[in-house]
Symmetry: C2
Subunit: 250 residues, 2 copies
């Protein structure tokens, strides 16, 4: 099975995604937060490219059980109910049964772009649900014989992020291992070679990678130190959100 990692959505058109099984990663913080929101009872999440799109789509529904959520420069968008910190989505009281229109700088546009390229459902991956994503993607590979497996890192303003590549590297490692157990060997593209070499299968250095990355340092500088610790925990949630091109749900 061909496996590759796309280091930033800016490099997506160069990768032959069509018909591949795809996953999008934004460890700090969109995909981590989406996992937490759905684990705490959110009905669905609509990923939007920006605040304007989120407002327009939310208004057009007429639905009362909606929340506007997201960030600009890491901070909650003015007038929105929630920001992009996973801690805001931990309480079922405020999240349960809600539909969320979610706009972030890197993660949500990457989900839209990846779906446009692949035409297939997109698995939402973070360190928080990494083992579950690996299992689900391997099952889907066996069931569906896709063209390949492509993990797309959201990065930061179009450039690669160390924390997303680290997550991708661990995920590729687990996928290779599980495929091999079923007798399927893997052929890695350079993005996947780089990711697995960088992560080196070492789950103990997650917090170090997140803390040293440019975005990790930025989030710490604006007071989100606890988010890094939270986002660095591997496998806390056993769910796999899926984006069908319109909404993300379980």
């Amino acid at each position: 099975m061909k496996i590759d990692v796309v280091l930033t959505p800016k490099l997506l058109p160069d990768s032959d995604c069509e018909g591949s099984l795809c996953s999008v990663i934004d460890v700090l913080r969109a995909t981590t937060t989406i996992v937490v929101a759905l684990a705490n009872g959110a009905t669905a999440i609509y990923p939007c490219c920006d605040a304007t799109e989120a407002r327009k789509r939310a208004e057009s529904t007429g639905d009362k059980d909606i929340l506007l959520a997201g960030e600009e420069e890491g901070l909650r968008i003015p007038g929105f109910h929630l920001g992009n910190s996973p801690f805001e989505y931990l309480s079922s009281d405020s999240i349960d049964g809600k539909t969320i229109y979610f706009a972030t700088t890197n993660g949500t546009p990457t989900m839209q772009k990846t779906h446009s390229c692949s035409g297939t459902p997109i698995y939402i991956a973070s360190l928080a649900n990494l083992p579950a994503v690996a299992s689900t993607m391997v099952k889907a590979t066996i069931a569906g014989s896709p063209a390949g497996i492509i993990l797309v890192c959201s990065g930061r303003y179009g450039t690669p992020s160390a924390e997303d590549l680290y997550c991708a590297g661990l995920l590729v490692g687990k996928i290779i291992e599980k495929l091999l157990h079923t007798g399927i060997s893997s052929e890695l593209g350079d993005g996947a070679l780089i990711a697995t070499g960088f992560a080196d299968g070492d789950e103990t250095k997650a917090l170090k990678v997140l803390s040293e990355s440019v975005h990790g340092r930025y989030l710490q500088s604006i007071g989100f130190n606890a988010d890094l610790e939270f986002a660095s925990r591997i496998g806390r949630y056993n769910i796999v959100p899926v984006f069908d091109g319109n909404r993300i749900s379980l």
Copy 2:
């Protein structure tokens, strides 16, 4: 000192290169071959974007001591004197005193693009001259107080290459170490974090990285196995070619 690695020239405009000390890497094979050509007496090398540009520029000189060189899809361009294998440049008999117009798929366009972005001389780096490049860039940093140090990987058709990132990672490691000896600490961007994490300071795995990479596998498939072994040797040449925006020379 700010240090970063740009994983493919496609990501160059996102990086603030202007006024930075820049290096271009294309281990397989343009920068390796340029080092060999200049070590064996070539007077200068003019990097061109493609065969047409190389022919036009060569014709316009009227110079007799010129050679047309380069590759398309890894193979010598029809009608050209030389291809892109370092072995073709090992004999001083054919190279000494010659001016070479050199067109390759990834390396030479990356040199042109990087110079356009930085406006500064570009250091040509490969595993073959890695220690010399590290020393030269550190001396230039101390002498010139540049905005930062940026290593640009040529990659392959716009996507990242494992072998270039590996070279960049070793080079960043050496630069950090040398700067620290002079009391200058380094601040790494995510590209540099990824490169150093991937290379892991391990010079013994060069041939493995080159052999497993997509371009390494391709070159082996068209008969250039020996080029990989040659290009994987670290520090065989103690020279640093410099591209001034027009030509590369020592």
